[in-house]
């Protein structure tokens, strides 16, 4: 082995002195070896499925301390590398070099540093590889289908089984159930259970489009706005000519809107809740009371009323669904069931309608097998569970199953805190059984995320720029030496202090209130001046000063480009805000460089920076040739 290494080294030294000096081959070999190790660690990390029960399994690298191992290994490997590389420096010794050689040297640094700091990728790819192989799409489709079919029988939360949850059959999915006792019309059809009232309404809606120009003009600007009103929320209001009218709207400050504050609730007591979508807000109002007795078997809690989708395969733990509000601060009133939700609800309804004991038993058996595979905590067995749920007449809830094994879950009572009868009822309903179904959902979400998440999408830019900064520092040290590098760091600090002082002074005087571009332009001018000096006047100064300018030029190029992007984006943003309201969503038509293309900007800036360093290498060589004193 030693002789092989010696032979390779000899060959590299004789044929590729730069590669030999930067230890590229060995560093890549070591780096790839460590990557392989991390990959394997990632693979074995998920052998126990209990890991999947913790949230954000895709971030296991950070939550298990592997990140520390990775950082320590990166530091050790890079330190050893630098010690080995610093033994020889052809550029410093005036051995024949070209600007291209100097640039290639920098590229070597980039490759080596990137390889040695990105063990996160290998580890997480290990997780993903294990997940992809173990939890195949076919297997997951089958298991998720079973889980979603059995989910109604989890029976954790009585709230999910009350009549207000009923969404099937139609038109239940288009109705709103009012539970506010004060508003219940007792003379009209309604349900009452343990002191709780349920009355169903049909709805009408109004949609308001924002006018950004009006928003910019001031607070609570009153203006006329065209709205589309439809009594059928499933119909696109903008295409429905009926019911178009004009209403008076008050607009809050833009920042209030950004924080998703509700638009001024109308003084209309028919108003129920609203939903935001893009630049529009749709408000819903009650229309008429509906008698649903033909569609439900009982007004008491029943498995028939369960209308949730336990696990949506498209769900990712990192998804944040658009929040919406209603008057009561309660959960979203879901009027727009997805296709899968509709399908599952219908299937479950059909299952209950069939009331086939063997079928339900088979489902419960399959589910418990799945729960065992994922090591989900539970004390359920098929028979008592079946006994608990199987009441074929109306599938009323006869008992609740705890969501974990600690104690009876009292959370469900909170909604009924002023309802003693309901509280007593719920306490009596809890059985001694438990099933940690949330862990199962988390595990499924983790698997889904591990299989689908592109871990490079955002993080690649972070690693790319860390690599660039580290490589640039090494490059500066290798070309200019330690003294100019230290002076450069001090000078960079002074420049930043100077810029901060200008900002602070101007801010104190209120100067930049008049122009939001002021800070960007000032920073651009200062950094631009330094760079131009570093490009054209570097050799006019003493060598140390020239070296400092050279380093500052190398360091300021990237900030200059980012500042330009910020400036362009600010101009674009202002132009967008000045655009009149259009038929289509303004965000779709108005392009802002930083907001809409920041990854592309990041790549483009990196490419431009590399081009710049390549061209600037010639100047670096001229600086090196300067007399020392």
């Amino acid at each position: 082995m030693k002789s092989i290494i010696a032979r390779i080294n000899k060959s590299l030294l004789e044929n590729y002195p730069l590669v030999w000096n930067t230890k590229l081959v060995w560093m890549l070999s070591i780096g790839l070896g460590i990557h392989l190790l991390f990959f394997l660690l990632g693979v074995v990390s998920l052998i126990s499925p209990t890991i999947l029960q913790e949230s954000n399994a895709i971030d296991l690298y950070f939550t298990t301390g592997m990140v520390l191992v990775g950082i320590i290994l990166s530091v050790i490997v890079l330190t050893v590398w630098l010690l080995a590389m610093f033994r020889n420096n052809a550029f410093k010794n005036f051995y024949p070099q070209t600007a291209a050689t100097l640039f290639y040297q920098f590229l070597h640094y980039l490759v080596i540093v990137f390889t040695c700091i990105t063990f996160y990728y290998s580890y997480t790819l290990g997780l993903q590889a294990y997940t992809a192989v173990t939890y195949t799409d076919t297997r997951m489709d089958q298991e998720i289908a079973t889980i979603n079919k059995v989910a109604p029988f989890f029976t954790h939360d009585i709230r999910k089984y009350t009549v207000d949850n009923a969404k099937y059959p139609s038109p239940l999915d288009q109705l709103y159930c009012d539970r506010n006792e004060k508003r219940i019309d007792l003379s009209a059809p309604h349900y009452k259970f343990k002191g709780e009232y349920y009355q169903f309404y049909s709805l009408i809606s109004k949609t308001i489009l924002y006018d950004r120009m009006a928003i910019d003009e001031g607070d609570f600007a009153d203006f006329e706005i065209q709205t589309a009103v439809s009594d059928d929320p499933s119909v696109d209001e903008n295409t429905n000519p009926s019911g178009i009218g004009t209403i008076k709207a008050s607009i809050y400050k833009p920042n209030s809107i950004d924080q998703e504050q509700p638009v001024d609730p109308y003084a209309d007591d028919l108003y129920l809740f609203q939903k935001r979508k893009g630049d529009s807000i749709t408000m819903y109002y009650r229309k008429a009371i509906v008698d649903i007795s033909d569609f439900v078997k009982t007004g008491e809690p029943s498995y028939f009323h369960y209308s949730d989708l336990f696990y949506d395969p498209s769900y990712m733990p990192r998804d944040y669904r658009t929040a919406s509000y209603n008057d009561y601060g309660e959960e979203e009133w879901n009027l727009e069931l997805s296709g899968l939700e509709k399908e599952i609800i219908a299937e479950n309804h059909a299952l209950l309608e069939r009331a086939d004991k063997a079928e339900i038993e088979s489902l419960l058996t399959d589910f418990l097998a799945i729960a065992t595979t994922y090591r989900i905590k539970n004390n359920l067995t098929v028979e008592p569970w079946l006994e608990l749920v199987y009441h074929p007449s109306d599938f009323r809830i006869k008992g609740l199953i705890n969501a974990d094994n600690y104690t009876y879950d009292k959370r469900n009572v909170s909604r009924f805190e002023n309802n003693a009868a309901m509280e007593i009822y719920i306490n009596e309903m809890y059985s001694a059984y438990y099933l940690d179904s949330e862990k199962l959902k988390t595990a499924l979400g983790n698997i889904s995320e591990l299989k689908r998440d592109n871990i490079f999408e955002t993080s690649i830019h972070i690693f790319m720029w860390i690599t660039f900064v580290v490589s640039l520092l090494i490059f500066m040290f290798r070309t200019s030496g330690l003294k100019p590098l230290i002076f450069s760091i001090i000078a960079a600090g002074l420049v930043m202090v100077f810029i901060a002082l200008i900002f602070a002074t101007t801010g104190f005087m209120g100067g930049y209130n008049s122009s939001e571009y002021f800070l960007t332009i000032v920073a651009l001018l200062i950094l631009g001046s330094i760079s131009l000096s570093g490009i054209f006047l570097m050799t006019s100064f003493k060598k140390v000063v020239g070296g400092v300018l050279m380093n500052l030029t190398l360091a300021s190029f990237v900030p200059i480009l980012w500042l330009l992007v910020i400036l362009i984006s600010s101009i674009q943003s202002d132009a967008c805000d000045r655009q009149p309201i259009g038929e289509s969503d303004y965000r779709d038509t108005c392009f802002e460089l930083l907001r809409d293309a920041s990854p592309a900007c990041s790549y483009a800036i990196m490419v431009l920076t590399l081009l710049f360093i390549w061209m600037y290498s010639r100047r670096i060589m001229s600086w090196r040739a300067m007399p020392e004193g």
Binding site: R87, M621, M626
Partner: protein, 384 residues
């Protein structure tokens, strides 16, 4: 007879006179002049054999003779040396902090020539060397360079001007790797790198030290390795600052002789400028001695006072009383006798030959410790 043939003949004579070490070193120079890797390998084999059979002189002679025979069939084309590599005209450099002014210095530096730069400490030797190497800027004057190939950038010019400071930097890693790294960077064909490196190691007497670490080397051998690295760069100009500073007397002579011989290469002559305090040794090998005093430049005997052209100056060390010595030397037409606290300096007319002074001293049984004719040596500037 070509120059190369003459040199081969010299080598044979050294061997015939049993000057084996000298002959061997000259033999290696001849081998290096051929630039033939086959010859290099033979020479390396000979070195290896010599180091493993240090007592077998006859065997070595036989092998060396075979190599010489092989060399005889080679032709070496002499390189052009007529034009100066460095042309400095009225170079001056002023240090504002101390007020010291170097120059104006005017000199042409030719290949195959050795320039000894002498002078007391702080008189500008290092400054002049660094200016010639473009390590230091100068205030006025003109500095021109003329190399075998066209220089396209300042960096390339700096890479051609090989300057070795008095304190060389530490080497890290294997000594041989450091040497190979030079060759590799100079685009030496890969198959030749090992051979050229070993040849240089052999030439500078480093064969038994090639596998040591830098920290295990004495100062003298560190300088030799530095020279090896420098010479592998195939310099046309070599600027050495006090290369003898850490060497013992014998090593100084050997190094200087080696440098002189290497710089005098037929195929790749080098212009060597070296500074040193070792006057005698430097004067012995230098073609031109440059004396710097307070930054003022004097080449050889061109000092403003013309004593060297008109007088015989003898440096004498003995225990005889000054009056006695003065009386005795008057017989050889003594002009004046000075004592600087260590040695006597006796001045005679130009017509007095050295042997006349020796004859007078011998006749009066003066016990001499040391006597040297310094009429044409820069030593006269130091001791007077």
């Amino acid at each position: 007879m070509t120059v190369f043939e003459t040199r081969l003949l010299d080598v044979r004579q050294f061997f015939d006179n049993n000057d084996l070490d000298l002959g061997y070193r000259r033999l290696m120079d001849c081998c290096m002049d051929t630039q033939d890797m086959g010859i290099y390998l033979k020479c390396i084999d000979l070195t290896q054999w010599k180091e493993s059979h240090p007592e077998d002189k006859e065997g070595f002679m036989a092998r060396a003779s075979q190599l010489l025979d092989r060399l005889s069939s080679h032709t070496v084309v002499p390189a052009a040396i007529a034009a100066p590599v460095i042309n400095a005209v009225a170079i001056t450099k002023k240090y504002s902090s101390s007020g010291f002014v170097l120059g104006p210095a005017t000199l042409d530096v030719y290949k195959s020539h050795v320039y000894g730069l002498v002078g007391e400490n702080g008189n500008g030797k290092t400054s002049l060397l660094r200016i010639l190497a473009l390590e230091l800027s100068y205030d006025s004057g003109e500095l021109g360079y003329s190399f075998d190939s066209v220089i396209t950038s300042d960096y390339e010019l700096r890479s051609r001007l090989v300057y070795v400071p008095q304190r060389t930097q530490k080497w890290y890693g294997s000594l041989k790797d450091n040497l190979k790294f030079v060759l590799s960077n100079y685009n030496t064909p890969p198959p030749e790198i090992e051979t050229r490196m070993l040849m240089m190691i052999a030439r500078l007497g480093l064969w038994n030290y090639q596998d040591l670490k830098w920290s295990e080397l004495s100062s003298g051998y560190k300088m030799r390795f530095e020279l090896a690295r420098t010479l592998l760069r195939k310099p046309e100009v070599l600027l050495l600052d006090e290369p003898l500073a850490n060497l013992d007397v014998l090593a100084q002579q050997v190094i200087l002789e080696d440098l002189r011989s290497i710089c005098n290469s037929i195929s790749h002559p080098i212009a060597l400028v070296l500074s040193s305090q070792q006057l005698y040794e430097v004067e012995k090998i230098s073609d031109t001695v440059i004396y710097l005093k307070n930054g003022v430049y004097t080449e050889d005997n061109q000092k403003d006072d013309t004593t060297s052209d008109t007088q015989l100056i003898i440096e004498i060390d003995c225990n005889t009383a000054r009056t006695t010595l003065e009386t005795v030397l008057k017989e050889a037409d003594l002009v004046k006798l000075e004592y600087n606290g260590g040695v006597y300096l006796a001045y005679f007319p130009q017509t007095t030959p050295v042997y006349r002074v020796l004859e007078v001293l011998g006749r009066h049984s003066i016990n001499l410790t040391y006597l040297r004719d310094i009429s044409r040596s820069t030593r006269r500037f130091f001791v007077s």
